[in-house]
């Protein structure tokens, strides 16, 4: 556990030292969301209809941005070997990386999503539902993204391969996340959607780090 926390601390310190990467994902999210009212017009009815979908898709794309450097830098400078030899199982190394990615990307996205939803004229009653879906949603994106980043490690043009691998896996997350908000907007209960998101998170929590750990071991060979 000490080693896991030490690894998490190392990741967060590195991310803060290179704060530009984190901020880039956040600004990308804000700018991408801002583009939509400019393109489809500022009518409140239209925006309220497409708002949740816009926020979900933009969050998904923004979470992908820092993924190709998640293991890439460590792989190139030899640090990955040391991480795999630090006494933690490879899956725990991947788990720490996923948690660091969520803390540095998912959590800020979650915080920024609320004001952006207001900007898109989303009724204030729907915002807790949106955030309630984004909480497991961003965690899932970090876990799936970590597994994807580990799999493409060492591949030529891995940065292009990564979205092709992760985005299809993230489709169910998108469907139920945006579905929760639209269900609530029609006066139905968003609970089944949120519970399905939580179920996916419960499955991804052990599976993604194990898959990513195996991929890291293969990449180090």
């Amino acid at each position: 556990m000490t080693r896991f926390l030490a690894l998490l601390g190392r990741e967060l310190r590195l991310a803060l030292r290179h704060g530009g990467d984190t901020l880039a994902a956040l600004f990308f999210f804000a700018i991408a969301v801002t583009m939509f009212p400019l393109a489809i017009g500022p009518g409140p009815q239209t925006l309220a209809l497409v708002g949740p979908g816009i926020i979900w898709v933009a969050a998904l794309l923004a979470a992908l941005l820092p993924l190709d450097r998640l293991f890439g830098a460590d792989f190139e400078d030899g640090s990955l070997d040391l991480l795999l030899l630090c006494g933690l199982p490879a899956s725990a190394v991947a788990g720490a990386k996923a948690l660091a990615h969520w803390l540095m990307t998912g959590l800020p996205l979650l915080v920024v999503a609320a004001p952006l939803a207001v900007m898109l004229r989303m009724p204030s009653g729907l915002i807790p539902v949106l955030l309630g879906g984004l909480l497991p949603g961003t965690l899932l994106l970090s876990l799936l993204g970590t597994a994807g980043a580990a799999v493409v490690l060492g591949a030529r043009r891995g940065g292009v391969l990564l979205p092709l691998l992760v985005l299809p896996l993230a489709v169910p997350v998108l469907i139920f996340g945006a579905g929760a908000v639209s269900a609530a907007s029609f006066g139905e209960s968003p609970r089944p959607h949120l519970l399905l998101l939580a179920a996916m998170l419960a499955a991804a929590l052990p599976l993604c780090p194990i898959a990513a750990g195996a991929a890291l071991r293969a990449a180090a060979e």
Partner: protein, 242 residues
């Protein structure tokens, strides 16, 4: 139908392995080439390799590697470029699986639990694995937390105490190498695996490193080093790779 397809797949795999020179026992058949052997006499052996073989890509770079290393022992890997020195070090670290043969630690399979094996060794590869954005002390912090040692003392042991708060991007190549070697000093691990450890070091630093190596071996530690340069390792056995 499914099992027939799987059977064909296994048949192809067996064929591929036999083309690589394996027989059914998974051992590499010995050819006219002498077996690489090194023995350091006396004491009980802590680390043992038994007819280890390894591939690098499609090429068999190591075959029939046998050695045994007692507590306090040192093994020098020598041989021309591409002879498999780095491959053997990665194999001993558990980063690479042997294609044949066994690696034993205290008589038991060393690679059964890769994480536990990782905890009993420090690997200094040919890359320094130094993060340019962190200071020298911060670079050591994770290794110190994992190894249980003191980062300040380790920096002092390699003459880096004054540079502790400098970003690692400001360090010279030799200083980065010393920072990589400082990872050895923060760890209590028993096995040190060193890939060209003294490359780019000045004579004073090599002497400091020699003190570190001697102290480690005096405490029962093991050293396996690949090198082309003379290393301060007294009485080290030599494993010549062809």
């Amino acid at each position: 139908m499914l099992s027939a397809a799987a059977g064909r797949g296994l048949g192809r795999l067996a064929h591929a392995l036999s083309r690589r020179g394996f027989n059914h026992t998974g051992r590499v058949p010995s050819t006219g080439r002498p077996r690489s052997r090194a023995r350091t006499g006396g004491g009980t052996d802590v680390l043992q390799a038994e007819s280890v073989a390894a591939f690098r890509g499609e090429r068999l770079v190591l075959r029939d590697i046998d050695f045994a290393l007692p507590a306090g022992g040192a093994l020098l890997l020598v041989g021309p470029n591409g002879s498999g020195k780095s491959t053997l070090l990665r194999l001993l670290a558990g980063l690479l699986r042997p294609a044949a043969g066994r690696l034993l630690w205290d008589g038991e399979d060393a690679l059964a639990d890769p994480a536990a094996h990782g905890a009993r060794l420090v690997y200094v590869g040919h890359q320094d694995a130094v993060k340019p954005g962190l200071t020298a002390a911060e670079n050591l912090r994770f290794a110190a937390a994992a190894g249980g040692g003191d980062a300040g003392a380790a920096l002092a042991a390699l003459g880096l105490a004054e540079l502790a708060d400098l970003p690692a991007r400001m360090l010279s190549a030799g200083q980065k190498r010393r920072l990589a070697l400082a990872r050895l000093a923060v760890s209590r691990a028993k096995l040190w695996l060193l890939d060209e450890p003294t490359l780019g070091l000045d004579t004073a630093s090599v002497a400091r490193f020699g003190t570190l190596l001697a102290a480690h071996r005096a405490g029962g530690g093991l050293v396996v080093a690949a090198t082309h340069l003379p290393l301060p390792l007294d009485g080290a056995a030599e494993l010549r790779l062809a």
